[in-house]
């Protein structure tokens, strides 16, 4: 019996090898897509089609070579899967999307509707849910095609500038594709995406934030607003601010930061979003060279507080004006409200009338190495 069992196993093994023989595909026969760009074509006749750009890596034999080359393929088709199929015949190797780290939505598409593309990226099994999403300006193709000098692995510059792995810019808000997808469906929070725009000769700039009303881009934040948004949305933002105090300009570096908010349904039909932003800073630069003493520190803190309170309030009102909710106030309202049937309706009525209170509490603690 024992022997026949092993014989059986061998037969099964043989069968399996027959079955699976066709799936074996070596790494050098695949071409890895590292970034996708989706856009509307500029040609007005084909405005309803999709223009898909792929950046695929071309692995080279010599790992010591300074840069590795990449191949760009562009295809216009009625849908993205169709475009990918068409592109397969343009390249000799099998397209492998499993290492795709970035998806760039062209500005034109973002202003129209990103829902279909997002559906494709979350539904397709080999696309990661931790892809970085961004809006490309002027269009997705140019962003994808840009090859900065610092790039050693194809697409890496884009990946590093959108994530916090490389430079930790306060103007970047990393958005993963799962994050985008959940904000698309969730009540009371709206999607956002960083904006990547190209700058001659070979630079990618990420310092703005696109604000979406669900699937449609409705506005952009300026770099300053983006930084402020990051201050509100993340903890311990690494940045510096410039503030005027006593007729002198100071730059301070933020050591730690924290922001909290509450929604107080004060009166009937009225609600207040009260923010509390706190942090501690170090003076990084002092324009006039005045010795920084205790009173000066306090004065700078006070000025910084005022500045923050004003700016944050303005930012919140900008969101209100656009009719979007990227910070998730609505969700916060729902999550603290036990009246589940009417809360959505209530919030819809409350939102246009929202009032904002900002209490900033940033303390200058250090003067740096000199006074």
């Amino acid at each position: 019996m024992k022997r026949s069992l092993w014989a059986k196993l061998c037969v099964i093994g043989l069968l399996v090898s027959l079955l699976s023989g066709c799936q074996f595909k070596d790494i050098d026969k695949r071409s890895f897509v590292l970034a996708i760009g989706v856009d509307r074509p500029e040609d007005p006749e084909t405005k309803h089609l999709y223009e898909v750009t792929l950046k695929t890596a071309l692995p080279e034999g010599d790992p010591t070579a300074r840069t590795q080359e990449s191949i760009m393929i562009t295809q216009v088709a009625p849908s993205i899967p169709e475009a990918v199929r068409l592109m397969k015949s343009k390249i000799d190797k099998e397209l492998d999307f499993s290492h795709c780290k970035v998806v760039v939505y062209g500005q034109a598409l973002a202003k129209e509707n990103i829902a279909a593309v997002l559906d494709w990226t979350t539904r397709r099994r080999d696309l990661q849910l931790i892809m970085y999403c961004a809006v490309g300006v002027p269009n997705a193709k140019e962003v994808i095609q840009m090859q900065p000098k610092t790039e050693r692995v194809p697409g890496n510059a884009l990946i590093l500038s959108l994530s916090k792995d490389g430079s930790e810019s306060p103007f970047v808000h990393t958005v993963y594709s799962f994050d985008l997808a959940r904000k698309m469906t969730e009540h009371g929070i709206d999607p956002i995406m960083p904006v990547v725009h190209t700058q001659d000769p070979d630079m990618l700039v990420v310092n703005k934030l696109a604000v979406f009303n669900k699937s449609k881009m409705v506005g952009t934040l300026t770099p300053d607003e983006t930084r402020l948004f990051n201050l509100l949305a993340t903890k311990n933002l690494i940045t510096s601010f410039r503030v005027m105090a006593e007729g002198n300009a100071y730059d301070y570096y933020l050591e730690s930061s924290k922001s909290e908010y509450k929604i107080n349904p004060a009166k009937a039909g009225k609600a207040t979003v009260s923010y509390k932003v706190s942090g501690s800073g170090t003076i990084e630069m002092n324009d006039e060279g005045i010795p920084v003493t205790g009173p000066v520190l306090r004065e700078v803190s006070r000025a910084a507080n005022e500045q923050w309170e004003k700016d944050v309030k303005a930012l919140c009102q900008k969101f209100q004006g656009l009719g979007v909710d990227p910070l998730g106030w609505g969700l916060r309202y729902f999550s603290r409200n036990w009246n589940n049937e009417q809360e959505v309706q209530q919030w819809k009525e409350l939102y246009p009338e929202l009032e904002f209170q900002v209490k900033a509490d940033v303390k200058m603690k250090y003067t740096g190495l000199i006074r």
């Binding site: 079955l19 799936q23 099994r125 959940r182 469906t185 998730g328 999550s335 589940n340």
Partner: protein, 382 residues
């Protein structure tokens, strides 16, 4: 004979394995319809049934269902019952296997064919479900201990990630005061089902005692795991979006990154841990099913293969080996057929039926055991 901790391993492995497929699906589906009270009810109910069941079956020290049934029930009742229960266990294994093949071709090897993956799994499961019960218990321990650190890592990683949205979790929590649903209770109670495997594994235990200082861990860990199974995917995919994901926990793991490791996507770590645990669980289920089935052919006196024996020979074991071979071969054939036949929706439907059916068959089983214990006591008195 093995130590008492293996009883808790049986419970634990079925508990953690359930967050992959059936249980979170039904929990998430009813997240606005009384899921919390359903979980609480399920925890209470299952702790009770688990306690009663264990107390009852340890009256028959070192005996599995086949021996108990064959001794205290007429043969006309014992045989159909054993066959029924064995089919039951086989189906449990089959559903797990089918859904894992589905997960594999979805997340790991999109190019590979389902039939090939299934064959690979079957080679292991068929080979391993014939080994001794104690050996399976040892294997459970090893696999669990290898997998637990990875699971704890993933869980901690998921919870401390700033992308985890606590507001979504709280939003679901505000639906606390909704009426519990039977289907959710049935689903949640499936997570506790590991103890039923004592039907066969009781053979390996001697003086198994339930001590309160260990047993309180059962409801507590059960509650925690069920809540985690429900709430972590919600924190990552939102209160609404979570429903879009077929395997919500795999999507959740895919939303995590390990920046400083050679493997960047947590989903692969998650897959590897859950694959090994699922395979072991299927082995448990099929082993129980197999032994129950063999039990209807054995007489009263035989107790399966002798424990820890090096090699069994003789007519009896020869016959049981043939039965084994036939059953396993049939099952494998069915599985290989089904894997390309069922679609995702049918599979989920079958899983749901199974959950409900299992829930309602738990009570009769306990009543049956009470009857048997009563019979045993009466015959002992005589």
């Amino acid at each position: 004979m093995v130590s008492r901790r293996y009883y808790y391993y049986l419970f634990m492995i079925s508990m953690v394995i359930n967050i992959i497929n059936l249980v979170p699906r039904v929990l998430i589906l009813t997240r606005f319809d009384g899921v919390f009270w359903s979980i609480l009810l399920a925890v209470a109910y299952c702790t009770l049934t688990m306690y009663i069941f264990t107390r009852l079956i340890i009256q028959f020290e070192g005996q599995g269902f086949p021996e108990i049934f064959n001794t205290y029930l007429p043969r006309a009742a014992a045989t159909p019952l054993l066959i029924l229960y064995s089919i039951f266990w086989f189906i449990a294994g089959c559903i797990l296997l089918l859904s894992f093949v589905d997960i594999t071709i979805r997340f790991i090897s999109p190019d590979i064919r389902g039939r090939a993956v299934m064959t690979g799994f079957l080679i292991l499961v068929v080979g391993a479900s014939r080994i001794k019960a104690t050996s399976i218990l040892y294997a459970i321990e090893t696999v669990l201990m290898l997998c637990l650190p990875a699971m704890v890592f993933i869980l901690v990683k998921a919870l401390i990630n700033p992308a985890f949205n606590w507001d979504s979790v709280l939003q679901v929590f505000t639906y606390l005061w909704t009426k519990p649903k039977l289907v959710t209770v049935a689903g949640a109670s499936f997570a506790f089902t590991g103890y039923v495997n004592l039907a066969i594994f009781n053979r390996s235990f001697q003086n198994l005692k339930l001590e309160l200082r260990h047993f309180w861990l059962v409801p507590v860990s059960g509650l925690l795991i069920l809540l985690v199974a429900l709430l972590v995917p919600i924190g990552y995919h939102g209160t609404i979006g979570v429903e879009d994901h077929v395997y919500s926990w795999f999507s959740t793991a895919d939303s995590l990154r390990m920046e400083t490791f050679v493997v960047e996507r947590v989903v692969y770590l998650f897959y590897i841990t859950y694959l090994s645990m699922s395979l072991v669980t299927v082995v448990i289920y099929w082993h129980v099913g197999l032994e129950l089935f063999k039990g209807c052919f054995n007489g009263k006196e035989s107790k399966g293969e002798s424990e820890d024996g090096e090699k069994g020979t003789g007519k009896k074991t020869r016959k049981s080996r043939w039965i084994q071979a036939v059953i396993l071969f049939t099952l494998s054939a069915i599985m290989i057929y089904l894997v390309e036949e069922l679609n995702q929706v049918q599979l989920a439907q079958a899983g749901q039926w199974f959950l409900n059916f299992r829930f309602f068959s738990e009570m009769p089983l306990i009543l049956l055991l009470i009857l048997l214990v009563w019979k045993k006591r009466r015959s002992a008195r005589r």
